[in-house]
């Protein structure tokens, strides 16, 4: 409805090119930005900023100190500050201009949110602009028409983006939570009929279950997950196809033991890397082959297991060692992980390209760890694979997903509050207050509790189009 907390959102269309702007509006705008932005020398400078000026510097991660900022730079940015009421919304506004790119823009937004801003509902900036008298009459008329005509359809659109399973799960959780609120409340209302003896134990179990399920839902929200945690990527291939070399190239250092003896990597190796704009949780694995060596066999099993949990499998194929048998082996392997995203690296092309075109079920990239050929294509391919469709053309999907994720996290927060109340020995009437909040957060996802912030989603056209 109308509140004065500080909100943030991506104010430009998400695309791989140009500049992305994160807008932060509200009384805490400066304070929040100050936590994640430093000047070129690493000093916090936003708090001393004059209105209507621009500063150059770095967005760094929230956990970073001034000393360690160099290791925590997310992007090089320009930040402008407009003190209210002379700003777009009439409130204090900070705008962070960063280097486009879906990942970076979202990463910056997520740091702003972590620093204390609330994700703006679509159109909330415009609405605040109105309520603070920053728009003229004609615009007001138009906005009113749009709210009333589009709010329903926008709500529906947002709900439709949920898969049937997720909304079913949320409904179940809601019913379950509501039942428990009702139980507590009836016991408070009529303590002589309904007893809460032993309820602590029951609710403790339920809370664990609910939080587990909410966590699962949060994880299932891909874009949110990739944004925060990176893409789980596994390197798979026959022994000595060069997986470890590929990994080292991506890492930029010799971490895995590289020899020309097949089967050197006996276990899985895990690294987090920033691969351009993308975070990858990279897992190098032992080569997949039938082996008599027990130790090596364990490695192979682990490799398969890692692949089963991956978001992306990069198949590393030695282009100098291709015959029908090997090709068939790879295709069998790919078929066994057919539900995963995959990329084929035809490695070692620096040694010659005299191989036949093979029909792999995934994009094929000619690659060399020696010359670096194919590196950029690999980067683009991964970006396309994970962020296309969430980016430029359909901003709403990203926003909605972040919105859903935030609501799930709100819900989780409320449930964790209940857990704390239980462990602190608080009485049951405190539980139901937080349970009610959890219930209403879930309701907002599936639109069963229609609050006006949902209706104002429609303002998004004014907001993001600006």
């Amino acid at each position: 409805m109308y509140s004065d907390d500080t909100i943030a959102a991506i104010a430009t269309a998400l695309s791989e090119s140009g500049i992305g702007i994160i807008r932060v509006s509200g009384s805490m705008a400066k304070e929040i930005t100050n936590k994640i932005f430093v000047g070129p020398s690493g000093k916090r400078i936003i708090d001393k900023m004059q209105t209507h000026t621009i500063k150059y510097g770095y967005v760094i991660s929230l956990d970073s100190t001034e000393d360690s900022f160099r290791d925590n730079i997310i992007d090089e940015c320009l930040v402008s500050y407009m003190q209210g009421p002379k700003s777009f919304t009439g409130e204090d506004v900070v705008e962070i201009n960063c280097h486009g790119g879906v990942f970076v823009v979202k990463k910056v937004l997520s740091e702003v949110l972590r620093a204390g801003a609330r994700l703006a509902d679509p159109g909330e900036f415009s609405k605040r602009a109105f309520l603070n008298g920053r728009m003229d009459l004609t615009e007001a008329e138009a906005v009113m028409d749009i709210i009333s005509s589009k709010s329903d359809s926008s709500l529906k659109a947002s709900i439709n983006q949920l898969s049937g399973n997720i909304s079913k799960k949320i409904k179940e959780l809601r019913e379950d939570i509501l039942y428990n609120i009702a139980f507590i409340e009836s016991a408070l209302d009529d303590p002589e009929h309904i007893s809460l003896d032993g309820y602590d134990e029951k609710i403790t179990g339920l809370l664990e279950k609910w939080i587990y399920e909410i966590d699962k839902l949060i994880r299932s929200n891909d874009s949110g997950k990739f944004l925060r945690e990176g893409i789980n990527t596994v390197l798979l291939g026959k022994p000595n196809a060069g997986k470890s070399s590929v990994m080292n190239l991506l890492l930029g250092q010799d971490r895995a033991i590289v020899t020309d003896i097949a089967g050197t990597t006996r276990d899985t190796l895990e690294e987090y890397i920033k691969f351009g704009n993308i975070g990858l949780n990279l897992v190098d694995t032992a080569g997949i082959r039938d082996t008599e060596n027990t130790v090596e066999q364990i490695g192979v099993d682990r490799a398969r297991k890692a692949a089963e949990n991956a978001d992306l499998i990069i198949y590393v194929v030695d282009s100098t060692d291709l015959n029908n048998n090997i090709t068939k082996g790879y295709i069998d392997l790919m078929n066994s992980f057919s539900n995963k995203k995959g990329i084929v690296l035809l490695n070692k092309v620096d040694l010659g390209k005299n191989f036949e075109k093979i029909d792999f079920p995934y994009p094929v990239i000619e690659f060399s760890t020696v010359t670096g050929e194919g590196f950029d294509i690999l980067k683009d391919t991964i970006t396309d694979m994970f962020y296309k469709g969430l980016g430029s053309s359909s901003d709403e999907i990203v926003i909605t997903n972040i919105r859903h994720r935030n609501l799930l996290e709100d819900c989780k927060k409320s449930l964790v509050n209940v857990q704390q109340s239980v462990s602190m020995g608080m009485q049951e009437d405190f539980y139901s207050i937080d349970l009610m909040d959890a219930y209403s957060s879930l309701g907002k996802i599936i639109g069963e509790e229609i609050e006006d912030d949902l209706a104002t989603e429609i303002f998004s056209k004014f907001c993001l189009g600006k």
């Binding site: 409805m1 109308y2 509140s3 004065d4 609405k127 109105f130 309520l131 008298g133 003229d136 009459l137 007001a140 008329e141 906005v143 009113m144 028409d145 709210i147 009333s148 005509s149 709010s151 329903d152 609120i181 409340e185 408070l188 209302d189 009529d190 303590p191 002589e192 009929h193 809460l196 602190m424 020995g425 608080m426 009485q427 049951e428 009437d429 405190f430 139901s432 207050i433 229609i450 609050e451 006006d452 912030d453 949902l454 209706a455 104002t456 429609i458």
Partner: protein, 675 residues
């Protein structure tokens, strides 16, 4: 219509209160105490403050209402303190927000004592008789202009939207709404033909309007307890353009206590230390002998009899038209709807000290007499019971309270107020709370002062009235703690701190009493401050104290306030490590302990209240023409036109008004502001 047109008797009063139940008594007392000449009508003087159903006052959330009534200067709390025979603080094992007092009353004494209070009020006249007609006038334009002059807020968008951070002690704007009315009250007429001219009238007709009692096939057209029903007034109310509807409620049988075998029942005693309802009652004066209630259960045999005779129940046979309350089901409802339960609790409660009658709590019914007797006699302890009064269901005329402002005045008739079951509520406490507010606001109306409107964030009374006047209530409304969204702030223990100032402002609380609360508040704040700024470390004393209460040792220094958040630590047992503490009354230390122990939770609710207040303070002008607001959905437009909400906050709580409509309204109002 009066029987006699020849009766030329005319008397002059400021306020006429129709009905002397729990709402009527509070309303009449408030008006007369505020210096207005008041007359209260009752069909029988012997039924003043009658308790026709359960013999207790208070209970979960209802106890809160009584405390609030008392804080504002009402009578209910004082009266039950004088006449209780058992008292219990409910939910003491739960958080302080849901602690609630409940007292068993000596019904006759309660009624007599209240009548005595009424009789001793100098400005109050008691009159037995049935009011059957209102005398009203149409309001001319001139009157409307006059209301404009009376009203401080001349309608001006800027003024209405100005953000007042300090919420007004009384609503600044409601008064201006009164000029939207088309009629005003000038008098009432009794069945005998006498006319009582008055400036305001308060309908507190309870369940008497066109009442019909049902006990199986036996139907009588009487009010509760066989008293005379009021059969004429409904017509006059309808003639003023007010819509009526029908609700239903019920009561169980009363047993002859001599026929109950108490040896089979388990005894339910009162608290060892009784806490009075009223903030003015000396706590020592209520430490007296108490009387027990008794617990028993229904069984499969009881349920079998009920099931076999459902066709003779007026509800299941379709004879009852009124809507009954789900939260207070008859025993036949319980058996049908909760068929998996093999027994239901039954409390046997004495009706008073000078009677043998016993109330059978949990078994209200409208089954025929013979079935009732058979059914009650299956219950252990009641095998040989004799019924003194049969259980019955009662149907009555009431209104949908959406026709009222939060001040409890009708939107269409100036000077006409309504309170209690007539507004679609249920319960003595709910009635008394509304009676008090209606009385105060009738007085404010006559005195040209702004009405008192309590909001949802400061009182249960505010929640009660707001729910009644904004929500679609399809059954008699009962207060519950879950209906108060800010209940951690609305505790029964701090009702005086929350509401005394309003009682004082209105004129029902003396300056002396008000100052006491102010002093209490100062003491609380300074003691909280002291505890937050007094630090203890891991000294020997502190460690041995913590060890003695089974609390984990300290590793760093903490404030006493932080220590108080530990469940094992109490303000009292902390005394050994807090040697320099000032000597404070327990009413102060209780608040200090609660406010500090639950500070995190309380602060969270305070934040929510800030947001709520913001929405409430965005007023909607009285003369807003909703047809001029583009883009409102048709349903919302109708709702808003019909309801005329006072604020954006209230508009957002109306059913049929979507958040998008609220946004549209906000933008429209802002547009006007910028013009």
């Amino acid at each position: 219509m009066s029987v006699s047109e020849k009766n030329k008797l005319v008397e002059y009063y400021d306020v006429a209160v129709i009905g002397a139940g729990h709402a009527g008594c509070e309303a009449a007392l408030a008006c007369s105490r505020l210096g207005l000449k008041t007359i209260i009508f009752t069909v029988s003087v012997d039924s003043i403050a009658l308790m026709p159903c359960n013999p207790n006052i208070g209970g979960s959330s209802k106890g809160h209402l009584v405390r609030e009534i008392d804080a504002l200067g009402g009578e209910m709390g004082k009266n039950i303190d004088k006449t209780f025979i058992q008292s219990k603080m409910l939910n003491v094992s739960k958080g302080p927000a849901v602690h609630s007092l409940r007292a068993q009353a000596d019904k006759q004494n309660y009624s007599k004592s209240m009548r005595n209070v009424l009789e001793n009020e100098p400005n109050l006249t008691i009159k037995q008789g049935e009011v059957c007609e209102f005398v009203w006038e149409d309001i001319s334009n001139e009157d409307n202009i006059q209301y404009d002059k009376q009203s401080k807020s001349n309608l001006n968008y800027n003024q209405l939207n100005s953000k007042s951070n300090n919420e007004p002690l009384v609503s600044q704007d409601l008064f201006s709404y009164y000029r939207n009315a088309t009629k005003k009250i000038v008098g009432v007429r009794s069945y005998t033909g006498a006319t009582y001219m008055c400036k305001a009238a308060i309908i507190c007709s309870g369940t008497y309007l066109n009442a019909r009692c049902l006990c199986g096939e036996a139907i009588t057209y009487t009010g509760p307890n066989g008293l005379q029903a009021a059969t004429h007034l409904s017509e006059s109310i309808k003639n003023m353009g007010i819509d009526l509807r029908r609700f239903k409620t019920g009561t169980p049988a009363r047993m002859d206590g001599k026929t109950i075998d108490y040896s089979k029942l388990s005894e339910q005693k009162g608290d060892d230390r009784v806490i009075p309802f009223s903030f003015s009652t000396d706590p020592e004066s209520v430490q007296k002998e108490q009387f027990s209630c008794w617990l028993t259960y229904t069984n499969e045999e009881t349920h079998k009899i009920i099931r076999a005779n459902l066709d003779r129940s007026p509800i299941y046979a379709g004879i009852i038209e009124g809507t009954g309350p789900r939260y207070c089901p008859s025993i036949e409802d319980k058996v049908v709807k909760f068929s998996d339960k093999d027994r239901h609790q039954v409390f046997l409660e004495p009706e008073g000290l000078y009677t043998d009658e016993v109330y059978v709590d949990g078994m209200s019914s409208s089954l025929p007499e013979d079935v009732q007797q058979a059914m009650y006699r299956t219950v252990p302890g009641l095998e040989n019971c004799k019924i003194v009064r049969n259980a019955y269901a009662i149907e009555y005329d009431c209104i949908n309270a959406k026709q009222l402002y939060n001040s409890l005045q009708f939107k269409s008739v100036n000077g006409l107020f309504a309170a209690g079951q007539f507004n679609g509520s249920s319960g003595y406490e709910e009635a008394a709370a509304q009676g008090l507010i209606a009385g105060i606001n009738a007085a404010m109306y006559i005195l040209n002062r702004e009405p008192l409107v309590l909001d949802r964030s400061e009182s249960y009374i505010g929640v009660l009235i707001d729910d009644l006047v904004t929500k679609d209530n399809r059954e008699p409304y009962r207060m519950m703690t879950s209906k108060a969204e800010y209940r951690l702030l609305l505790r029964q223990d701090n009702a005086d701190l929350r509401l005394r100032k309003y009682g004082y402002q209105v004129g029902l609380i003396s300056e002396e009493d008000y100052k006491k609360v102010c002093e209490k508040e100062t003491l609380i704040l300074s003691e909280m401050d002291r505890l937050k700024n007094t630090f203890v470390g891991a000294s020997k004393d502190v460690l041995s104290y913590l060890d003695s209460i089974g609390s984990t040792p300290l590793t760093t220094g903490v404030s006493l306030a932080a220590l108080l958040c530990r469940p094992e630590v109490t303000y009292e047992n902390m005394a050994v490590i807090d040697k320099d503490r000032p000597s404070l009354p327990s009413s102060v230390t209780e608040q200090v302990e609660i406010e500090l122990r639950y500070e995190g939770y309380i602060d969270r609710q305070k934040k929510q209240v800030e947001h709520f207040k913001k929405m409430e303070s965005r007023k909607i002008p009285v003369d807003l023409d909703y047809d001029d607001v583009p883009s409102l959905r048709i349903e919302a437009r109708q709702r808003l036109k019909e309801f005329k909400p006072l604020s954006i906050g209230q508009a957002s709580r109306l059913s049929g008004v979507s958040p998008a409509d609220v946004s549209v309204l906000l933008v429209y109002l802002e547009k006007g502001n910028n013009r």
